[in-house]
């Protein structure tokens, strides 16, 4: 299996390198002036020219690329034009918030989606099944931005059950920075108040972000379960007189999990890089907003930094999904 992992990592590295080359040249070919965009319409020309020189943006693109590669080899992603800080520092600051949000979202989406999908499959053709399918259609067609605002309106404003936007109430001190994820840092600091408050803040954005994953996972679970429930080995299990719970959860669900795991992996990668709308509605200081502002202002170093993170995440998610296959199905061999 180790040889397989090494080969996959090597392949992923090649893919990431390819993505970097494409993104670098695409972002440089697009017309526009990043320095002017960042300094605004009123910055004097000499300040813009000076900054362009200082950041090496007056050099030919291929020269900038070579410099980027040399720096990358040293683990230096360069400085962001917008934040004037090393990109690596920005990523370290903004990525944990997104990671925390996306992880909570996929947990909610996967747990609920699995449960809903199984219920729907087991209750196939009954009103419950129809209701679940109808609701999932609605869920799929509901824009995340709109859903976020509606949930905020209901659970924050109309029935004030949950706290509003942000990661933590402003009057609560943030636990010392260890991982950057407030819930984990609060746990490490054994700060129960901060932990509960942070979980409250996390819930709505996680539900919103996880909603599409929930629906997708529920649908694939239902389809997969229906297929498996018709297999001979399930009939045999039932004929042997096994408890229905055992038949469904042990025999059917376990065998139906392969496509579900694949979907969960894909959704998780997508959530990590696609959280910008949720982050905007819930004032979540994450990577999505950082990436969007980098793209809009053509902040090259930041764009490349975010690209690396996203490419790494997708590669890692794919690898984990592939490895999970082996755990779920011992017949699968890695060669």
């Amino acid at each position: 299996m180790w040889a397989y992992i090494v080969r996959r990592v090597a392949l992923a590295s090649l893919a990431i390198a390819g993505v970097l080359v494409i993104v670098f040249f695409l972002s440089h070919i697009i017309p526009g002036d990043p320095v002017a965009a960042i300094l605004g319409p009123q910055a004097p020309n000499d300040v813009i020219e000076d900054l362009r020189r200082r950041w090496g943006l007056d050099r030919p693109v291929h020269e900038q690329f070579v410099r980027f590669v040399v720096r990358l080899a040293r683990g230096d992603l360069g400085d962001s034009l917008a934040t004037h800080r090393p990109v690596i520092r920005d990523l370290r600051e903004f990525f944990p918030a997104t990671f925390e949000l996306a992880t909570a979202a996929i947990l909610i989406g996967a747990l609920t989606g699995l449960a809903v999908g199984v219920v729907s499959a087991v209750a196939r053709g009954r009103p419950l099944d129809h209701a679940v399918r109808f609701l999932s259609l609605i869920g799929l067609s509901m824009p995340v931005f709109w859903l976020g605002l509606i949930l905020l309106y209901i659970f924050y404003y109309r029935i004030p059950l949950l706290p509003g936007p942000g990661q933590l109430d402003i009057f609560i001190a943030r636990p010392p920075w260890v991982t950057g994820m407030i819930t984990v840092d609060a746990l490490l600091a054994r700060d129960g108040g901060a932990l509960i408050n942070a979980l409250g803040h996390l819930l709505l954005p996680a539900v919103v972000l996880g909603s599409h994953a929930l629906v997708g996972i529920a649908r694939i679970t239902r389809a997969s379960m229906l297929e498996v429930l018709g297999q001979d080995y399930v009939k045999v299990a039932r004929a042997k007189g096994l408890a229905e719970r055992t038949v469904i959860l042990k025999h059917a669900l376990r065998n139906g999990l392969l496509p579900i795991i694949t979907v969960i992996g894909i959704y998780y990668g997508g959530l990590l890089e696609g959280a910008v709308l949720t982050e905007t509605v819930f004032a979540w200081p994450g990577l999505g907003r950082y990436a969007t502002s980098a793209i809009l202002s053509q902040d090259f170093a930041a764009i490349m930094g975010v690209t690396i993170v996203i490419a790494l995440i997708f590669s890692l998610a794919n690898l984990i999904v592939d490895l999970a296959y082996g755990l779920l199905n011992p017949k699968i061999r890695y060669e």
């Binding site: 002017a36 319409p41 000076d50 449960a115 059950l161 979980l199 502002s293």
Partner: protein, 522 residues
């Protein structure tokens, strides 16, 4: 059995949703009496170093952490003492000597003295960051800023500086006085001016101390007990990042924030008639305009440019802005010194066609209009396209990212664009230079409009007689109005919504912000 399974799965589902009920709990419905919470977007804050801060929210925070030598009165037409208790000027208004107030101390406890002022202004000149031009346009050498003893500072400008212009430079956040001892202590190899440290820390003597700044999340300020004017009434101020207007509105209505600063025009209108809330509006020192590049042959004709000015439907544009603008047509906004209130242009298609005929352009021409995606610019562009079609100008609208539009505008390759200009300092010189002085390489240069009025601009800034100066700026405005390549259609209104128990919050026409030291709560 199947029912039991369904029950089990139901329990699983309930468990997944359980946190919705047990965690979090509602946030407090009202903020404490000595705390002011403001909701706005703080994504533009990239540095709190006065030598670098140039964005609206950055400079707003800096203004409250630091002191400057002088400050403006509310009308922006007089300089008032601040850290400088008084000053004298040489007869040619080139050299000012400032007498510093005694007993002013930095948050560190160090004294604010002449050496600190000299160090701070020279530091800006050495760092040469974005806002440095506000000083370096008027002070040529570091040695022109000199401490005289410990309580006097002498500044020699490169031109005569009427008091309002002097205050425009020295009241600006870039001219803040920083604590030299702290800067030196935090200097590092490759960063001798401690720019990195000052980006995230405070070395000021202003009414508030920086408690924390978490990027894209929150700025927290606490009142400085030792402030020379006395401790401000709000003990703590939170500026919370709430980028989405609807979420900001909910937070205000729920009572989690006291002030909302970036709502949509319709939301302000809604709150203005809702009991418990107040909306304040003020016209800003900024301008929205349609620029025509004189380098594009049809626009080289003054008649064509004026035809465009007569073809535009100004009332319709105001409606697109949902009334959140004042209609104005001159380059010096209302409320600023020397403003010329003339508004000669209203939509008059016949007049516009006559001008096109006069220019020999009756058959019309094609022109591209580039605008950014910023709302409501694409709608305004569509309206202008429709308006100009009536005089046979076929407009191709291109909606691009701000970065692209700026690149095109600065590269002078546009035919037309919609842009804005906000006064960097509250003096007509700033706007006159931008709109009328080709040699300043700003807007007149970008639109390739090299007009002799630039000499009047260069003369006006040197004029020390207030009445003569006013007359010169009015002359400049008239020329730009009648001949310039700009269709000026709006002075945007600044709006702030707050709960009725918040007092002393008045939006400033200069920046998107307000003075926090006057804020209080009932």
């Amino acid at each position: 059995m199947r029912n039991r399974l369904l029950r089990l799965l139901g329990v699983l589902l309930a468990l997944a949703l359980l946190p919705a009920v047990v965690v979090g709990g509602p946030a407090p419905s009202r903020t404490p009496p000595n705390v002011l919470v403001i909701g706005t977007s703080i994504q533009d804050i990239v540095s709190l170093d006065p030598a670098q801060a140039f964005e609206f929210r950055s400079t707003w925070v800096v203004e409250h952490l630091y002191d400057t030598l002088v400050e403006f009165n509310r009308e922006f037409n007089r300089a008032l003492p601040n850290v400088a208790a008084s000053w004298t000027a040489s007869p040619d208004l080139k050299t000012y000597t400032f007498q510093l107030r005694s007993g002013v101390r930095f948050h560190s406890g160090n004294a604010v003295n002449a050496q600190a002022v000299e160090f701070s202004l020279r530091r800006v000149m050495r760092l040469k960051m974005s806002p440095a031009f506000i000083i370096t346009d008027f002070v040529k050498a570091e040695t022109d800023i000199a401490a005289v003893g410990s309580d006097q500072v002498r500044i020699t400008f490169n031109q005569g500086m009427p008091e309002v212009l002097m205050a425009s430079v020295l009241d600006n956040p870039v001219s803040s006085v920083v604590d030299p001892a702290l800067v030196r202590r935090n200097a590092a190899a490759g960063d001798p001016e401690a720019n990195k440290w000052l980006t995230e820390n405070d070395a000021g003597s202003g009414p508030y101390i920086l408690r924390r700044w978490t990027r894209n999340a929150i700025v927290e300020l606490v009142a400085y007990d030792g402030y020379w004017r006395g401790r401000p009434s709000m003990g703590r101020i939170f500026i919370q990042d709430l980028i989405e207007p609807a979420a900001q509105l909910l937070a205000l209505q729920r009572g989690d924030i006291d002030v909302a600063m970036s709502l949509l025009p319709g939301q302000y209108r809604q709150l203005a008639t809702t009991p418990g809330f107040v909306v304040k509006r003020v016209p800003t020192f900024s301008i929205r305009y349609l620029a025509m590049n004189v380098g594009y042959e049809p626009f080289a004709s003054r008649q064509v440019r004026n035809a465009v000015k007569y073809a535009v439907d100004y009332d319709a544009i105001k409606r697109i802005y949902e009334d959140a603008i004042d209609v104005g047509q001159t380059i010096v906004p209302a409320r600023m010194f020397a403003h010329l209130p003339d508004r000669p242009y209203t939509r008059n298609v016949e007049r516009a066609r006559a001008l096109m005929r006069e220019a020999g352009r009756e058959a019309g021409f094609r022109a591209t209009l580039v605008v950014s995606t910023e709302v409501p610019l694409p709608d305004i562009a569509a309206k202008i396209k429709e308006d100009l079609a009536a005089i046979n100008i076929t407009v191709d609208v291109q909606v691009l990212r701000s970065a692209d539009v700026l690149g095109i505008y600065r590269g002078r390759t546009h035919h037309m664009t919609i842009a804005r200009w906000g006064a960097d300092y509250p003096d007509p010189d700033n706007l006159a230079k931008a709109f009328a002085d080709f040699d300043s390489r700003v807007l007149a240069w970008r639109n390739q409009w090299d007009h002799p009025v630039k000499r009047v601009v260069q003369q006006a800034v040197q004029e020390s007689d207030r009445a003569k100066r006013e007359a010169l700026y009015k002359e400049i405005q008239k020329v730009v109005l009648e001949e310039g390549p700009y269709v000026i259609f709006a002075y945007p209104l600044r709006q702030i919504a707050m709960r009725t128990n918040v007092k002393g919050v008045d939006p400033s026409p200069l920046a998107e912000t307000f003075d926090l030291t006057n804020a209080s709560k009932e």
